[in-house]
C-alpha cells in the first residue's frame, strides 16, 4: 500500500499560517512525522492565492526535502505554474495531484506530467461534475487514459482516484466508489488506485471507524494507495491487517515486521 500523507495542506489553518510565516520547523516536523508513520509520499498543497502559490510551493518543496529527502512529494494544485515550480525544485521526480476531465487541467497539468514523466493522480470528473455512477466515472477515466498514453505516460504511473463521496448524503456512495474501483482495475490492470479516504465519513459521528471499514473494502476492490493521515495508528493497523488477510503480504512479513517495530497494535509503553 502506498500511503500518501495528507497533512501538509494549506487549507488547514495551522499549515496555512506556517506557510505565511515561513515556519520551517513546523513543516519539517509535519513531514517527518508522516514519513515515520509510513507515508512514503507526502501531499504538498500550498492552498494559497494563485499569485503567491508558485513561491509558496517552492518554499514548501525545499523545506520538506531537507527534512525527509527519501519521501516522494505529491504536488497538489490546480495551478500549473505552481506545479512547474515544484517540479523544478524537487530532487526526486514528484507525483502530480491532479489531472481531471476539466479543460484547464488537461491543458495545464497533463503536458507537465508527460514532459517530466511524473506519476499522476487522475480524477474522473469534468465540467459536468462527478458522475453519479461507476460507468460515468469509467467513461472519463477511459478518455483520460487515452490522453496519458498518447502523451507517453505508462499506465503504471497513473493513480486513479475513483472519488469517494460522503455516505451521509447518499446511501449508495460507498458502493459506487467500490464498483468504480473494480471496473477501472479490470479495464486498466496496470494503473494504481488511490483515494481521499476520509471523504466517506463526512457529516457523520465516529468518523475513524467508518474510514477503517471503508478502507478494508476498498483494498479488497483493488485500492493500493490512499491519501490519509498516516499518524492514525489504528488505521495503519487495519490497513496492514487487510492486506495481510487478502494475501498481499507474502509470508505476512510486513505485518509482523510492523508488529516488532511497535508500529501497529496496542502501544507498548
Amino acid at each position: 500500500m502506498i500511503v500518501i500523507g495528507e497533512k501538509i495542506n494549506g487549507t488547514r489553518k495551522q499549515v496555512s499560517s506556517a506557510i505565511t510565516n515561513r515556519n520551517a520547523d513546523f513543516i519539517r516536523d509535519l513531514a517527518l512525522r508522516q514519513f515515520q508513520g509510513g507515508a512514503s509520499y507526502l501531499d504538498v498543497n500550498a492552498g494559497s492565492l494563485p499569485e503567491r502559490e508558485p513561491e509558496d510551493m517552492a518554499w514548501l518543496v525545499q523545506t520538506i526535502q531537507e527534512a525527509v529527502p527519501d519521501a516522494t512529494l505529491c504536488l497538489d494544485s490546480p495551478n500549473h505554474e505552481a506545479l512547474r515550480t515544484g517540479i523544478e525544485k524537487a530532487n526526486k521526480t514528484p507525483m502530480l495531484n491532479s489531472l481531471s476531465g476539466e479543460k484547464f487541467r488537461i491543458d495545464g497539468v497533463l503536458p507537465l506530467a508527460c514532459k517530466f514523466g511524473t506519476e499522476l493522480i487522475v480524477l474522473p470528473l469534468d465540467e459536468n461534475g462527478i458522475p453519479r455512477n461507476s460507468d460515468g466515472r469509467l467513461g472519463i477515466v477511459r478518455r483520460l487514459v487515452e490522453m496519458t498514453r498518447s502523451g507517453g505516460l505508462p499506465d503504471e504511473k497513473l493513480y486513479i482516484d475513483p472519488l469517494v463521496m460522503a455516505i451521509s448524503t447518499g446511501t449508495d456512495n460507498g458502493n459506487i466508489t467500490l464498483e468504480s474501483c473494480r471496473k477501472i482495475k479490470e479495464e486498466f490492470p496496470k494503473v494504481h488506485l488511490t483515494c481521499g479516504l476520509s471523504n466517506i465519513s463526512f457529516g457523520m459521528p465516529l468518523r475513524s471507524i467508518l474510514n477503517q471499514a471503508f478502507l478494508v473494502l476498498a483494498i479488497q476492490a483493488g485500492m493500493d494507495s490512499a491519501i490519509v493521515n498516516p499518524e492514525e495508528r489504528e488505521l495503519r493497523g487495519i490497513l496492514m491487517a487487510a492486506e495481510t488477510v487478502l494475501g498481499k503480504d507474502r509470508h505476512c512479513l510486513n505485518f509482523n515486521r510492523a508488529f516488532r517495530a511497535g508500529k501497529i497494535g496496542p502501544r507498548r509503553d
Binding site: 489553518k13 492552498g47 461534475g129 448524503t169 459521528p205
Partner: protein
C-alpha cells in the same frame, strides 16, 4: 399533534407518513400539519447543532418534508397555501468558480426551502458573471456562496467586486459558507457574514429577512 412532531423528530419515517395521512383524512387543517413539521424541524436543527444528529438525519428530514407536502397538497385551502408556501425571502445560491463541493450547498438549499425561502440554486463552479446575471433576473434578498477550498475566497471576492462595480452591493446581503471560512476570509471577500455549517447559515438568513 405531538405524535407527528415526535415521529418526524425521531426519524420514524413510516410512522410520520402514516400520521400525516391520518390527519389529512380526519380533516385537520393543512396549516396545523405544516406547523407540526416546522416544530419537528426546529428540534432536528437543534440536535444537529448539539451533535446528536448529523448530515443523514437532515437529509432524511428533507425527504420526509417533501413527501408530506405531497400528501397535504390536496387539502391546501387558499389561506393554508398562503401560510404554508408564502415565501419569506429569496436566496440566490451556488458553489463558486473553481470549486465543485456541493454537500454544504445542497443542505443549505434544502433547509432554506423548508424555512420558507425561495431558492435559486446555480449549482457548482459558478462564475462571478453568472451570479450577476442571475442576480439581476431573480432579484434575491441574499446571495449565498459556498466553497470548501481556500481557492474559493478569490472567486467569492470577484462576485462581491462585481456587485460593487454595478452599484448593487448595498442592495443585497452576502453570506459565504464552507469549512475554511473565518472572519479573515469574510473580510477579504467583502461578505456580510460567514458560516461553517448549513444550519448556522439558515439562522443568519432568517434573521436578515425577519
Amino acid at each position: 399533534m405531538q405524535d407527528l412532531v415526535n415521529a418526524v423528530a425521531e426519524m420514524m419515517e413510516d410512522e410520520a407518513m402514516a400520521l400525516t395521512k391520518k390527519y389529512v383524512e380526519k380533516g385537520v387543517p393543512a396549516v396545523q400539519i405544516i406547523d407540526a413539521y416546522k416544530e419537528a424541524l426546529r428540534i432536528i436543527g437543534k440536535r444537529f447543532e448539539e451533535c446528536t444528529y448529523f448530515v443523514p438525519e437532515l437529509i432524511l428530514a428533507g425527504e420526509m418534508m417533501k413527501a408530506a407536502s405531497e400528501l397535504i397538497r390536496p387539502i391546501m385551502t387558499d389561506s393554508a397555501s398562503n401560510a404554508g408556501t408564502q415565501k419569506i425571502g429569496k436566496l440566490l445560491l451556488g458553489t463558486v468558480e473553481g470549486d465543485i463541493h456541493d454537500i454544504g450547498k445542497d443542505m443549505v438549499h434544502m433547509l432554506m426551502d423548508i424555512n420558507g425561502f425561495e431558492v435559486l440554486d446555480l449549482g457548482v463552479d459558478v462564475p462571478a458573471q453568472r451570479f450577476w446575471d442571475e442576480y439581476t433576473k431573480f432579484q434575491p434578498d441574499i446571495i449565498g456562496m459556498s466553497g470548501l477550498l481556500t481557492l474559493a475566497f478569490e472567486s467569492m471576492r470577484r462576485v462581491v467586486d462585481l456587485l460593487k462595480d454595478k452599484g448593487a452591493r448595498d442592495k443585497v446581503k452576502v453570506i459565504i459558507g464552507g469549512g475554511q471560512m473565518d472572519e479573515q476570509a469574510c473580510k477579504y471577500v467583502g461578505a456580510d457574514a460567514f458560516v461553517t455549517d448549513a444550519v448556522a447559515g439558515v439562522n443568519i438568513c432568517k434573521g436578515w429577512v425577519a
